[in-house]
């Protein structure tokens, strides 16, 4: 088994971990978005609350979510370690910084990743912790279910009344978009998947994905915020 350890300690092995966990999180973003877009349904949160209840109690989802937490932590910790090692390998920086040889996103993946980590901490603290561990959410019952479920929709709605929370989300999602613009295509290159025949397609999908997914996420706080505004 020592060959696996040696591989994971090598520069390319470390990059592979980043690539695979990154792509795993990319698929998660789609699933999470589809679920959350139910917040925009004009049913006072019924579909979303039933969905949220399913997601937090289904045993299979529970197991998958453990993988997700592991993926996030692995990506964050490994990314941090690589960033420190790279900083050490670079040593002294140039007195003049040039962006003519590479774009800002690609040179600041660690910074964007750190912003995303803090965003995630705020995001999970506000909803996930309250949903799972604290008894602060009101219960709501629906005729379709013979038991009561937590009204997460109400909490989300309340949060997005606050302009500062909306701004935090927009900053988080902008960081996500910038992180993805470089990260998406970079993950494929690390896997060795680069060829002049299919790389333009991967890069194009990457750009479209990196812009549309964060925009669709941003629609949720923006819609909720402005619909509150129009009520007054």
């Amino acid at each position: 088994m020592s060959w696996i350890i040696n591989f994971l300690k090598s520069s390319i092995g470390k990059k592979l971990v980043m690539s695979l966990t990154g792509l795993f999180l990319v698929t998660f973003l789609v699933v999470h978005l589809i679920g959350n877009l139910q917040l925009l349904m004009p049913d006072d949160g019924k579909a979303f609350n039933i969905y949220a209840d399913f997601m937090s109690n289904n045993p299979i989802i529970k197991i998958i979510s453990l993988g997700l937490y592991a993926g996030i932590l692995l990506h964050a910790i490994q990314g941090m370690l690589i960033a420190f090692e790279n900083r050490k390998a670079k040593g002294k920086k140039y007195a003049v910084t040039s962006f003519e040889n590479g774009n800002w996103m690609s040179k600041n993946m660690a910074l964007l990743g750190t912003l995303l980590f803090f965003f995630l901490a705020i995001h999970m603290g506000d909803f996930w912790v309250k949903m799972r561990f604290l008894d602060v959410l009101n219960m709501v019952s629906y005729p379709e279910l013979d038991y009561e479920v937590k009204n997460v929709y109400e909490r989300v709605n309340l949060a997005f009344e606050n302009v500062w929370i909306v701004i935090v989300y927009l900053i988080g999602l902008l960081s996500l978009a910038l992180h993805l613009i470089h990260g998406f295509k970079s993950a494929f290159v690390t896997l060795g998947l680069e060829h002049k025949k299919y790389s333009p397609l991967i890069n194009a999908i990457g750009i479209v994905y990196s812009i549309t997914i964060p925009l669709a996420y941003a629609a949720i706080p923006l819609y909720m915020f402005f619909s509150h505004q129009s009520h007054y």
Partner: protein, 247 residues
Amino acid sequence: MRLTLKIWRQKSTHSEGYFESYKVEASENMSFLEMLDVLNERLISEKKEPIAFEHDCREGICGTCSMAINGRPHGPQTGTTVCQLHMRAYKDGETIVIEPFRAKAFPVIKDLVVDRSSFDRIIQSGGYISVNTGQATDGNSTPIEKGQASEAFDSATCIGCGACVAACPNGSAMLFTSAKINHLEKMPQGKVEHTRRVVNMINQMDKEGFGKCSNVGACHVECPKEIPLSNIAAMNRYYFSAVFTKE
């Protein structure tokens, strides 16, 4: 043209470096190195320590002239080394900042001269092929497909100057190492060491303290030989296949 140069001065590897400003008068037809020669002539005549910088062929093929100009290895021009950069690329009155290549694995020896022997050790670890002893076989007796030969040549044009490492925000040597691996991999003569080469060269690269590539692509932009970035993905593939499928 009158220029202000801010040049990195450092007595030795372990001494503290600092920037020193010099005024210099240059002709726009001079190469960048000739402009430094003019400055050094003056410093010598004033009994001052001249600026140490490396140079050899002065025709863009040896890769010795290692310096970063305004934060860019080999200066602003694409596809050239410093010796092929001419002063006409600058404007009268400009201030130019000249630094040595920055990377932990390239320690400064003096002023603008860095120690790039880490590259030599990467080559020693696997940048060779096995050949039979006895008389050299006729070159034409081994047919090589033209496209394959051209791709190998594109990688083989690497002059090992280290600009890729110097340009990389991570101090990574993956463009250099992958170019050397691919140039041999693409040739039938290089197949003998296929597995060993990629593993040994990457191990040595890591041991030398180079950083990890994050696919920024600055190496390719600054490379005087414009070595294709696709070498890195190809090296990753060879490495995966060597690690996961071979002994």
